[in-house]
Amino acid sequence: MSAFQASSPWRKTAALLARIGLTGRMLIIAVPMIWLLVFFLAPFLVVMKISVADPMIARPPYSPLFVQGPDGWSIKATIGNYAYLWEDSLYINAYWSSIKIAFFSTVLALLIGYPMSYYIARSPEPKRSLLLLLIVLPFWTSFLLRVYAWIGILKTKGVLNAMLMKIGLINEPLIIMQTDVAVYIGIVYTYLPFMILPLYANLVKLDDSLLEASADLGARPISTFFRITIPLSMPGIVAGSMLVFIPAIGEFVIPALLGGPDTLMIGKVLWTEFFSNRDWPVASAVAIAMLVLLVIPIMLLRLAQSKGADT
């Protein structure tokens, strides 16, 4: 029996791989590693490479990194594109404005999402599944279509204004489209499920006996909520906020379709650099700078979280 196993091709391969230092465990880890390498690191390096080139009228429209001269190959790179981001206040203002819009959207999504998640998590089983289904349901339609639907609702002669004027709340139509208000509505609407789902996953595991203990010790429901429920759901709050905040910062479609011309967001600045200036190097530098700007706080947060988990 064992002889048969040892002679099986699988065993042979495994032994062969082990000899060059590859074990089954490493092979399993290799799959996500290769995934990251191909779909994250490689594109990142390409963008990195373009960010140190000079723009030119050519195909593709930037100078090559490796130049063949009389003395062989040499590397031609510049940090001028990064320096440029500092020279013009536009970029810093755009980063700042993106962070601001993403932050307030996250807070709004949390304020709306928390009670919804709480209610769903506390609902009895058949109802709970139905409510969760309703949260996920919008994903069955294209994101773009849903943003277009908001244009129909918010525009000057749209559904919302028609309704408000009919019931006599307003006499003149509200101008919501092409303002920051429309951008907030769009972002909060789009990313709300990403807030609700992790919060729900956390709240549904909340141990009822802790709440009972709190009540037994004389805490009012309000006090129990703020001193027991909220601290225990912190991991859900952090996860949900991350899932809203990070994509909201780089959002392009929502500010482009719902926002006004003065809605300054980094996604739109990137578009202008890439398409209007056809300056791919500066566009790449903007992207890399944003990545660095986002990665550092996220790493710090992860570090704080893992420390919290240890204690």
Partner: protein, 362 residues
């Protein structure tokens, strides 16, 4: 088991090879820019299947052309973009022996297009138009009086006049290289100037009217004008006429007008060209030649309300269109049209930066 996989792989490879040789032409054109039956007629006449895809900004097309391997066989850039893309090596010269319908083209207009493409070596005119003012007739009369005649850039560039229209919605194309020169022209400067001070003067004028502008966008205004959501748009001639046509069709009581202001306007050509790496060059030539057929071009103009560069098609074009000075300008108006100037990278950055400043105040 292995054999099955091998067979399956072989089948896929063969299918792929067949797909590559499939008799198709991949066309990338502006949105709402062709007659409803043009593609059908082409497919019936030639047996070549058309894969038709659309864009709404030159910048998007340009990014694809500069990246390469777009897979498109026929694309329709605007003249100034075409010139830069030719310089970048994005297109291949046209084999004119395969384009007998070139004889139909208007010599004067082709000479105008040759400013961007010497000897018309790389492209031929698809349609052409102007960047003027589209407006809601009733909304203007309500705000500026029944007698106000819309014939000047005053409507959008005079801060006092445009402020009276702000409440009903004033929009402009999101096209810095078209709007800033129009502002320069209004100030009496040369719209083709590349002097930084001239651009700054144009941008400064735009900043004074900026509070009255609802948005800058290059396609949304068609529907918004037609629905009465906005009342003035600096836009492309044919797009405004499409809004006019849609409003008529919807019978919503919105009456749209288009004017080439007396001070002059930008004239541009949309050109059919073949990318350097087009996979089906022969089919692309067949397609371009087919479009230049007098009847086919007339059908497109009758549908999209853009002027064409096809002299032979004129008798078949609807007289309502040929007699409209907004589409085919009078000789006096033609004399005041200008062609866009191609900027170098540095100037482009100056113009775009000023534009961002106008739009966002940053």
């Amino acid at each position: 088991m292995k054999r099955t996989i091998l067979l399956a792989t072989a089948a896929t490879v063969v299918a792929g090879a067949v797909a590559a040789k499939e008799n198709v032409v991949n066309v990338y054109n502006w949105s709402d820019y062709i007659a409803e039956d043009t593609i059908e007629k082409f497919e019936a006449a030639t047996g070549i299947k058309v894969v038709y895809d659309v864009f709404d900004s030159n910048e998007v097309l340009e990014a694809k052309m500069l990246t390469g391997s777009s897979g498109y066989d026929v694309v329709v850039p605007t003249s100034d973009f075409l010139q830069r893309q030719i310089a970048a090596g994005a297109y291949q010269p046209l084999d004119k022996s395969k384009l007998p319908n070139l004889a139909n083209m208007d010599a004067d207009l082709m000479a105008g297009a040759a400013i961007y493409d010497p000897d018309n070596g790389y492209a031929t005119i698809y349609m052409w138009g102007t960047t003027g003012i589209g407006y809601n007739v009733q909304a203007i009369a309500d705000r500026l009086g029944e007698d106000y005649e819309v014939n000047s850039w005053d409507l959008v560039f005079n801060p006092e006049i445009v402020a009276k229209l702000a409440d009903c919605g004033v929009t402009m194309l999101d096209a810095p290289t078209e709007i800033i020169p129009a502002a320069m022209n209004y100030l009496g400067l040369d719209p083709r100037s590349t002097d930084k001070a001239d651009f700054e003067a144009g941008a400064a004028l735009l900043e004074t009217i900026r509070p009255s502008i609802r948005y800058f966008h290059s396609s949304q205004y068609i529907n918004d004008l037609a629905n009465g959501d906005i009342c003035v748009s600096v836009g492309w001639s044919g797009d405004v006429f499409q809004a006019l046509y849609r409003a008529e069709e919807a019978e919503n009581g919105v009456e749209i007008g288009y004017v080439i202001p007396d001070e002059g306007a930008l004239q541009w050509f949309d050109m059919m060209a073949i990318p350097v790496d087009a996979p089906h060059v022969d089919n692309a030539l067949t397609f371009i030649n087919f479009i230049m057929d007098a009847q086919i071009t007339a059908d497109i103009t009758n549908y999209v309300w853009y002027a064409n560069g096809n002299a032979a098609s004129m008798p078949m074009v609807d007289p309502d269109i040929t007699s409209d000075p907004g589409i085919f300008p009078t000789e006096a108006a033609s004399a005041k049209l200008w062609g866009s100037k191609v900027y170098d990278a540095r100037t482009d950055r100056v113009v775009t930066r000023l534009w961002t400043k106008v739009k966002t105040g940053q």
